[in-house]
Symmetry: C2
């Protein structure tokens, strides 16, 4: 790749990815535009899952749901092919990952429904613009994520606890961090816990259950947000016959600006 | 009724209604607490309807969805019987209203799903508290509502145009009215149009399609909000075999305060 990917529009990026000319992660691409997580389920699970997201909007903020069998979207992007425009996908059977591929056209079925789910990339950009350092970005690692004891509201076959992400925030910036993220409910919204990991069942903050540990400096408070890993975890616990997701960090770059997600 | 209903708690009101000791409208009761619209559908329509509300959250803000067959709630109220705690219900068959009753226990089926939908009563109270007169309250009439040319996003069997409510607002208070209602997306949120009814297909503002006309004084601007009549209209257009709704104005009084709906 000789092109500077960061100068491409969302549409140019999707075309490049669709033609299999880029299959890397999408972090930092198309700055200002929303990136979305993907969960593709058979229709017979779709009602329970949609209801689960309705009951648990903070960890499971749905940006758009496709029509049954369709690979198209209308809200988050036009000129889109859900089966090809993510750089990398994971295919699960009975809860086990069986394949990682760049294109799921050959696996598509007429009974599949695609859920696009909001991603913390969107609010991290807002935090940076508010002058708040995002430690996982500074340290070039994945955000640390933890299982918690926070029960989710069940819906049909889906139940489980919330997964949270953690970002250390200087004490004097905690209020700003709450305010900035609260304004973006479609990308997880305000924190769920501030400063007391044990209260939500996290006993060892240096060993996250997913992602990487980050440095917590003196004067910083660990702040916990509902995390988009939650819906994937909850689905996998039910071991459905067939599920497609994006590969972590390999998102859909949409045509929608982060700022338009505020107070949606 | 010798009791002063306005001093009763939501739970006391629901008990009174459950025992058929009150079957009037709920306007002005349990001030500060959220009241909810009701749509009860057979499960085979529930996915399409839930998806319709996901795609059209401003006219169709869902507060809670029951489990299939259940008359209970967990979020908006506990100690609740969905089939008895609304003062009055309407029963529809094939799109026609066939009955108005105070209790739908005898009509209940194991395949029914209840949708509680946000109501503009909640934001009218916020407008009043912000010093904005709500004309339909001052004139003791129903809010005027209009069919529009604003297309909704389809979902399965459900499609149609938005219905809006109108409140005349003094020019100098329009910004405040937008700000106050924008903060309450779970009860329709910000206006959809300000000051130009013809732009949304309303040609005679003095003759609303539903509710009553209200006075528009010199210096006032007609402001239009997405309206909770929309989902009922859209459902009836599909002429489903069986639907239960609340009777207009005869809402569920919930245990949830209006203020907690802000930025949900």
């Amino acid at each position: 790749m000789l092109k500077d990917l960061t100068t491409l529009t969302p549409l140019e990026l999707r075309h490049l990815i669709r033609q299999n000319e880029y299959s890397g992660n999408t972090s930092g691409l198309a700055a200002g535009f929303t990136q979305a997580n993907l969960v593709v389920l058979p229709k017979d699970l779709a009602y329970d899952f949609l209801l689960f997201t309705q009951r648990n909007p903070k960890p499971c903020p749905v940006l758009e749901v496709s029509d049954v069998g369709s690979k198209k979207l209308t809200e988050m992007a036009t000129d889109v092919d859900i089966a090809r425009d993510f750089p990398k996908y994971r295919i699960y059977e009975h809860g086990d990952m069986v394949k990682e591929v760049n294109d799921v056209t050959d696996f598509w079925r007429d009974d599949l429904v695609s859920f696009l789910i909001g991603c913390s990339f969107s609010f991290e950009e807002e935090l940076l613009q508010a002058g708040i350092e995002v430690r996982n970005i500074s340290e070039c690692v994945n955000v640390p994520m933890y299982d918690t004891n926070i029960p989710l509201k069940s819906a049909g076959r889906f139940h489980g606890n919330m997964v949270v992400s953690m970002r250390p925030i200087p004490e004097e910036q905690v209020v700003t961090a709450v305010r900035v993220t609260n304004a973006m409910p479609k990308v997880h919204g305000a924190p769920i816990q501030i400063g007391d990991p044990e209260q939500i069942g996290i006993n060892d903050i240096d060993h996250p259950d997913y992602g990487d540990a980050v440095t917590i400096k003196p004067g910083e408070v660990p702040v916990f947000w509902p995390c988009g890993v939650t819906p994937q975890n909850v689905i996998m616990q039910t071991k459905p016959d067939f599920v497609i997701t994006h590969a972590p960090g390999h998102m859909l770059v949409t045509d929608v600006k982060n700022t338009t997600l505020k107070y949606m």
